[in-house]
Amino acid sequence: MPDVVLQARGLAKAFASPAGLLPVLTDVSLEIFAGESVSIRGSSGSGKTTLLQLLGGLDQPDAGEVRILGPGATLVAPRSSLGRGVGFVFQNYQLMPELTALENVALAARIAGVPAAAATAAARALLGQVGLGARLEHLPSKLSGGECQRVALARALVNRPSVILADEPTGNLDERTGAEIMDLLLGVVAERGAALVLVTHSREFAERASRRFVLSGGLLTPA
């Protein structure tokens, strides 16, 4: 049986609102295994992004805990895995506008402590793999939406994380480009042996994951 790379138990999260505390997640538990892909669907405001942020360590749950496969194959708190154990792909790419495609990808490696030359070499190789070998020196403003998302994907993968958390990665793309990105995402992630947690509105893309969940009423249930 494959190793667990991400483990979430009893996650709960509520946000303050003028009407009082608004519960978003009430009791979410999830285990992700190495190399698998998991999709999470849900309506707007159902807490998909919040769940992804809790899984990735960008936010703290009010209750429950998250553990991610860290160095030495031990499960650690997600905050210490940011940039290494876990890679993010966002809906609107979130690239640094002043950095070229190559620099954007290398930046993630540099932040993880990889020396500049090695970071650049890894970024160059990954951008070639996602089909942007000829766009290395382009700024995000000179790239199409699909190309930007490819750069974002390369950036998420450059530190060889055990989990990729993708938040609506095709949300800003047209149907055809979205399909291309999904193919690439599933292909490259599988090729690198990483697990994928995909949050999406699209039933079609969600169906392509090996396991599928729906988030509703603060609970995660198999689709």
């Binding site: 919040t50 942020q53 990735g56 960008l58 936010d59 940011l82 940039g83 290494r84 993010f88 966002f90 979130q94 640094m96 506008p97 002043e98 950095l99 070229t100 620099e103 930046l107 993630a108 540099r110 932040i111 993880a112 500049a116 700024l139 950036r155 530190n159």
Partner: protein, 406 residues
């Protein structure tokens, strides 16, 4: 290069932009502040130095005085001149007298000097006539006194000394001493120019019945800046004499110059402070604009202090570049100060104020490395703080909030 420095540089100077407005305007603001501070300080230093030089030239680097007159001044001068720190020692005598030209009169501070001394500072300040014409029958007047007496070079005046009153008391006719004006000096020191009257020491002794005595000695020192310490060393073994360094002679005036400089530094520093605050506010809006990027950096694993460094360094870089260009601007303004002053004078129609009021041929300068170091240190400190405040705010945001709120 650390990634945050690389990113800070890129955010300040984005590639493909010919005019990175935020960076350029901020750097220019700091540069103008630094330049204002340093131009004012350097010119103030220049005025201060000029005034100090004139004090030394008017009164000597060090005056040697006694409780009364000095009995054998030539011997004492010879002895003091032999000291390794003394360049020259010259006896002098001085005293007030009534100067008169027909219906015009004024109080003259008459000083007996050695006309043959090539180092006599008055030579530098002659603006009419010739110093070398000074002899027993001639006198040099300060420009203010000459005007008060309505005399020019070649005119004659009378000097009535207090010693003449003694003659009158003894029943003798108190005849005034007559002199022909051979030169007029203008030092820029009002109190000197309005009263100075220079005659040969020998003639002074005659008029004042001094005999071989003198009122004091004027010392020129090899290191005038160290006059206070030198005076202390010279005083050893001369308990009957008082050695008065030039810093003591015009103590209040020098203190006023220093105070003026300090106040101007304070006022000009406020300009730099305002520039730094505007950087802080601009950087704050830039950080707010980049809030989502802060969240992204956190998602990539960037630590809190790396985010602080990213934005803090931008403030520091603006400060460093602003200081550098401020230095360049200072040098440029000061190098072309004559042209700038001519422009100001012609615009306001005031004529050459520096020459008319201060008798300086051009705006004096004195570069003081300490001013540059202090200006750079203050500027870097304030711009670093200006960058640090928004940086700390950015780093304090929760990544999820940063990404949601942007």
């Amino acid at each position: 290069m650390p990634w945050f420095l690389h990113l800070a540089l890129r955010q300040l100077f984005p590639p493909g932009k010919r005019f990175p407005a935020f960076a350029m305007v901020s750097i220019l603001g700091v540069a103008l502040g630094v330049a204002s501070l340093l131009v004012v300080q350097t010119v103030m230093n220049g005025f201060g130095e000029e005034h100090r030089l004139r004090i030394r030239e008017s009164f000597g680097d060090c005056q040697v005085l006694a409780a009364g007159t000095i009995e054998n001044p030539e011997a004492l001068a010879k002895q003091l001149a032999a000291h390794p720190e003394v360049a020259s020692a010259t006896p002098y005598a001085e005293g007030p007298a009534l100067a008169r030209n027909a219906d015009f009169s004024g109080i003259a501070q008459v000083r007996g000097i050695d006309p043959a001394d090539p180092g006599q500072p008055a030579r530098k300040y002659v603006y009419d006539g010739s110093f070398d014409d000074l002899d027993d029958g001639r006198i040099i007047l300060g420009v203010g006194l000459a005007r008060a007496l309505r005399v020019r070079v070649g005119d004659r005046i009378e000097i009535w000394s207090p010693a003449m009153a003694e003659r009158a008391e003894k029943g003798k006719a108190p005849l005034p001493a007559e002199f022909e004006v051979c030169a007029v000096i203008r030092t820029g020191f009002t109190e000197v120019d309005n009263a100075a009257a220079l005659i040969p020491l020998r003639r002074f002794r005659e008029i004042w019945n001094l005999g071989p005595r003198a009122h004091g000695l004027t010392l020129r020192l090899k290191q005038p800046a160290l006059a206070e310490a030198t005076a202390g060393r010279l005083a050893v073994g001369h308990p009957e004499l008082r050695f008065r360094p030039w810093q003591d002679i015009k103590k209040d005036f020098l203190a006023a110059i220093r105070f003026e400089k300090t106040m101007l530094f304070f006022l000009m520093f406020i300009i730099t402070l305002v520039a730094s605050f505007s950087i802080g506010s601009t950087l704050f809006s830039a950080v707010i604009r980049r809030t989502r990027e802060v969240g992204v950096l956190a998602s990539l694993g960037a630590g809190r202090w790396q985010v602080v460094a990213l934005f803090g360094l931008q403030g520091l870089l603006i400060g460093a570049l602003g200081t550098f260009f401020g230095f360049v601007l200072t040098w440029t303004i000061l190098a072309f100060r004559g042209v700038i002053l001519d422009g100001i004078n012609s615009f306001f129609g005031d004529g050459d104020m520096v020459a008319n009021i201060y008798q300086f041929s051009k705006v004096p300068l004195h570069y003081d490395a300490a001013d540059f170091v202090i200006a750079a240190a203050f500027t870097l400190l304030t711009t670093a703080i200006a960058g640090l405040v928004p940086a700390l705010w950015a780093a304090g945001r929760k990544p999820s909030e940063a990404m949601r709120d942007a």
